[in-house]
Amino acid sequence: MLAYTLRRLLIMIPTLAVISFIIFVIIQLPPGDYLETYIAELQAQGEAVDPSKIAFLREQYGLDKPFMEQYAHWAWGLVHGDLGYSFEYRLPVTEVVGDRLLLTVVVAAASIVFTYLVAFPIGVYTAVRQYSFGDYSLSFIGLLGLATPNFLLGLILLHLAYQWFGTSIGGLMDPHYINKPWSWGKAGSVLEHLWVPVVVIGTAGTAAMIRRLRANLLDELEKQYVVTARAKGVPPLKLLFKYPLRLAINPFIADIGNLLPQVISGAAVISVVLDLNTTGQMLVSALQSQDMYLAGSFLMFQSLLVVIGVYVSDVALAMLDPRIRLTGGATK
């Protein structure tokens, strides 16, 4: 297990290196750079552009350097926790993003936990009680969640949260906590606001997961070893948890890696609708203004989450399902 864990861990390093290079290439692909966008904006506002100031800024930001040198500088900074400099905000990226990265992780993690907490028991129940009233009802609710557009559900929940609990509309905390240091009050306010985006983002993936778990578990429950175990009098719950469920949750675990990018890209749209202080809105604006280090840092951070997600799912899968599947047997 340790050998496998380390082998898998080492794959992450070149993967992240390649991803960082691709991200840097992509954010450099649009013609021009941040300063050209800045000049165009100034000219559109009728303001004079001082060429010497632009040349100074170009040198200061390192935009006059060759592509590979810029990339190497950025990548070296990343491994040291230095995310670069935001041209638009004229501040180090770490200062600009502030709590956003943490809040993005909190929203994404809470959404995944929500998805699993809802989908897992419903998936198991609907498989064990197939074609029962509960199966139909819960499947209907799950499909309703899948069919409802996220932005609509978000707006409805915002309204209900305000009407029932007096929670302020939008955002991940009460306005007076924004840009303030962390305190118990601020954490409480985040928790109070968190459920709306978590439910909105989480419901989208829940129905699909329920259907998959239900289908997989039904397949397992019909296998001969389950029939034999039942015939031998193994208690139903013990039988369910010991083998069929363990094998049926395979896609559940494998989905951790796929779920993270979905949740984060879903959160980007939802963050605009719900006015969340996560990375979504700032990423969109950074990409529009070609603020490359800010955009690159966000993308790199999200990629890191995905790579970690895939790693966790692979390790969990190895622990939960140590079976081999060979197409034509081992080669000789």
Partner: protein, 183 residues
């Protein structure tokens, strides 16, 4: 130990090259970042120092595999490294596990990954990876001993035995030495 029927196996060096490279790259990467940095914060030290240490240990483990000699015969299985010689008589076999390790992609493509055979005896444990020459022969002897000793196998282990052509519940012919066995 019945000398005539004893077969010797090793981890072929060409199959360990990948692990040596992994260990080297992991240690070099962690150390290079730490040594080339002007200021090393505790977070960096923890991440990259931990990485270098873990891959250093992985390298030592690969070296130990490189130097391990395994002998199998009717009486039991014997391993010899420069530091120790260990013996597990088949009559002492108390447990057996055959586990598969592979990424989600390797599982889906049904290609790649590796098997790990763990044998349990009284206060001892022996572990072999499928990269060792004669892995199927070791697995065959182990499953035979497990059957004779009445050791029950979990479904994953039994299934993995079947996947490599060994029926743990019945007599299967002993596989010939298969140095090219690979997943």
């Amino acid at each position: 130990m019945t000398e005539a029927a004893t077969v010797f196996y090793r981890y072929p060096p060409n199959r360990l090259v990948g692990d040596y490279l992994r260990a080297g790259v992991g240690v070099a990467f962690g150390l290079a970042i730490l040594l080339a940095s002007d200021k090393v914060t505790w977070v960096m030290g923890l991440i990259f120092g931990g990485l270098a240490l873990a891959f250093g240990l992985f390298g030592l483990r690969t070296l130990r595999q490189h130097m391990t000699e395994v002998a199998v015969n009717e009486d039991g299985i014997f391993t010899r490294t420069p530091t120790a010689t260990r013996t597990l008589a088949w009559s002492e076999l108390e447990g057996l596990r055959l586990r598969y390790f592979g990424s989600h992609r390797q599982r889906k493509s049904k290609n790649g990954g590796f098997l790990e055979l763990t044998l349990y005896g009284p206060a001892k444990r022996m572990r072999f990876e499928s990269s060792i020459s004669g892995f199927r022969d070791i697995a065959w002897w182990s499953s035979r001993a497990a059957r004779h000793n009445g050791v029950s196998l979990d479904p994953a282990t039994a299934g993995n035995f079947l996947a490599i052509g060994i029926d743990a519940d019945g007599e299967t012919p002993r596989p010939l030495a298969d140095p090219d066995f690979e997943l």
